[in-house]
């Protein structure tokens, strides 16, 4: 039996690898500031150009006078920033693996689930920081934050960022080249975002598309995000056909499954 100080020492010893891998993710991102800029600038440009362009001519089913397309598109853009940052944070795992750095971590006495957890927390922190920057623009779209909605929004964003980073890790741990990663990103990750209700609601779309959107886990993530954003705002966002409970439940489940998937993938790697 270990006495209390020994137990504390062991806990610290177990935490150290997680904090050090997490810290490296943050410091490296900070030292390559152009990455910070590109992850936030591109979605912002999309939002301003597409949002303004479509506001005049395009009115999704259920739109009210108070809520134009720019406002509808806003939560989707925040999620896109989370997606881009998570992906950028994980794409470097591909390079790290090709070089010796990840091998050095793999031969250390650290279980793979802790390595993946640390990497996922690193990506989550970075995505969350970028997402919070974007939240500053929320009042422009009529959103009013109270303490409840603000902290709930942060929580949902953290869950989303954690799932998306793990989804990125799940791919990155299998890839030998960053080109392959980009291909998967264009073929899989961007469509997941497009069909999550970020760009257009599922009301009024052909039934096959509505079904695709229904089985897309990010649809529920985005719904949970909209719910939390508009918690303290009188005018509700449209596209709220998914209930708060269901969207949170599926978002939580998505979080766990992506993390388990990333851990299993990393555990199977021998280089």
């Amino acid at each position: 039996m270990l006495n209390p100080p020994q137990r504390t020492a062991r806990k610290i010893k177990n935490l150290l690898p997680i904090t050090t891998i997490w810290w490296r993710e943050i410091i490296r991102f900070y030292r390559q500031r152009s990455r910070l800029f590109s992850a936030i600038a591109q979605p912002l440009v999309f939002w301003i150009l597409i949002g303004s362009g479509l506001s005049a001519s395009f009115r999704p089913a259920g739109a009210t006078d108070e809520l134009d397309y720019i406002a509808y598109f806003y939560p989707g853009i925040v999620v896109l920033v989370l997606l881009f940052t998570s992906i950028l944070a994980t794409i470097y795992v591909v390079n790290d693996r090709r070089e010796g750095f990840v091998k050095g971590i793999l031969v250390a006495p650290v279980p793979r689930w802790r390595i993946v957890l640390a990497q996922a927390l690193g990506g989550t922190t970075l995505a969350l920081l970028q997402g919070v920057l974007l939240l500053l623009l929320a009042p422009m779209t009529g959103i009013r934050f109270g303490a409840a909605s603000f902290f709930l929004t942060l929580g949902v964003m953290a869950l989303l960022a954690f799932s998306l980073t793990n989804l990125g890790l799940l791919i990155a741990w299998r890839m030998d080249s960053t080109q392959g990663f980009h291909a998967i990103m264009n073929l899989l990750l961007i469509p997941i975002w497009l069909l999550s209700g970020a760009f257009f609601p599922s009301t009024g779309v052909p039934s096959w598309l509505a079904w695709t959107m229904k089985i897309n886990p990010l649809t529920y993530g985005l719904a949970a995000f909209r719910h939390s954003l508009y918690l303290d705002t009188a005018t509700k966002a449209f596209g709220e056909e998914t209930t708060w409970t269901l969207s949170m439940l599926i978002t939580g489940l998505f979080c766990i499954l992506t993390y388990m998937g990333a851990t299993l993938t990393a555990s199977a790697q021998t280089n």
Binding site: P17, R31, K103, P109
Partner: protein, 323 residues
């Protein structure tokens, strides 16, 4: 053609595993689908020695390195490191190993000290103990004055030294290095070899390295030669070279195919044809060179004469050139 008699005499001459053998590899095999990468390999290594695994590309040394470094599981045979079974006690073994991979294992965007701190944390080192150990190693490897610089600005030789310092940070009992001299110039290679020698002597650490460079292998205390997944020779470099015997003469000719048998017949020697070159081992090589050139002045283009090297051992055992 493999000279089975010599092979037998060399492999049986190798040491039997003893109580002080800290790495014991027994009947280790590994296959990738159809291809047999390692075929029934056995050897042992003790503390204080530098053991070299020499082999051309595709000989299986990378697979062996991956297994020893715990990246790949043992599928057939056994490996014991300090009495612990690699198949069942991976975590305990990982604490005993310091591993230097062929590809750079440092984060170029981090400083030297940040890289070392990161590594120390992975092994549960922190605080004063870690700081003390880092400064001690930086001092010993002569990189103290570069500690605060980013790794990307260091030369290849310095980076390799930092990597070795990193691998030694948690005081491992075994240092594994995969092609440690690749990408280094001659001076840096010599310096690295000196450092490894110093480590083996002063720290009583076991150093095991893979290499495809004959010069690197010559500097090891003992060498295992791998070819097509098999361990074809095991012993001290000098001991292996005496198995070749006498001198080695290499003759180049426009028509080596017919010159070989002609030389065999006239001088009663045995020539081996490898890659259009004729290799002959014989005593009193200087006299043989004089006689053979006099006998075949037209056919012979060039003659090289020398004492046997590890390459000659390889050629003798496998019948192939070491490439």
């Amino acid at each position: 053609m493999v000279d089975t008699e010599v092979l037998h005499s060399i492999t049986t001459k190798s040491r039997e595993p003893t109580a002080d053998s800290q790495i014991q590899v027994k009947n280790l095999s590994h296959a990738y689908q159809q291809r047999q990468a390692l075929d029934n390999i056995s050897f042992d290594v003790s503390c204080g020695e530098i053991f070299g695994l020499l082999g051309p590309n595709g000989s299986g040394k990378t697979t062996l390195f991956r297994i020893l470094s715990t990246l790949m599981p043992v599928t057939a045979g056994t490996v014991h490191i300090f009495g612990r079974d690699l198949a069942t006690e991976v975590k305990a073994i990982r604490n005993l190993l310091g591993v230097v991979f062929q590809h750079p294992g440092l984060d170029a965007k981090l400083t030297v000290i940040e890289n070392l701190r990161h590594h120390g944390h992975l092994y549960g080192l922190a605080g004063k103990t870690l700081r003390h150990r880092i400064s001690e190693l930086l001092e010993r490897f002569g990189v103290s004055d570069r500690a605060a610089e980013r790794v990307e600005v260091l030369s290849g030789g310095l980076q390799r030294r930092v990597e070795i310092a990193k691998a030694l940070l948690h005081s491992p009992r075994v240092l594994l290095l995969d092609e440690p001299t690749s990408g280094l110039d001659v001076a840096a290679r010599r310096q690295l070899s000196d450092y490894l020698g110093m480590l083996a002597r002063t720290e009583n650490i076991l150093v095991l390295m893979t290499t495809h460079l004959l010069d690197d292998a010559e500097a090891c205390n003992r060498v295992g030669i791998l070819d097509e997944g098999k361990l074809v020779a095991l012993g001290e470099p000098d001991e292996l070279k005496t198995q070749v015997g006498g001198d080695v003469i290499i003759i180049e000719s426009v028509d080596s195919g017919t010159l070989g048998p002609a030389i065999n017949e006239k001088f009663g020697v045995s020539t081996v044809l490898t890659d259009a070159q004729l290799r002959i081992e014989c005593e009193r090589g200087h006299e043989f060179v004089r006689d053979v050139v006099a006998a075949f002045p037209e056919e012979i283009q060039s003659v090289r004469f020398g004492k046997p090297t590890l390459e000659d051992v390889f050629v003798k055992l496998t019948g192939n050139l070491f490439t």
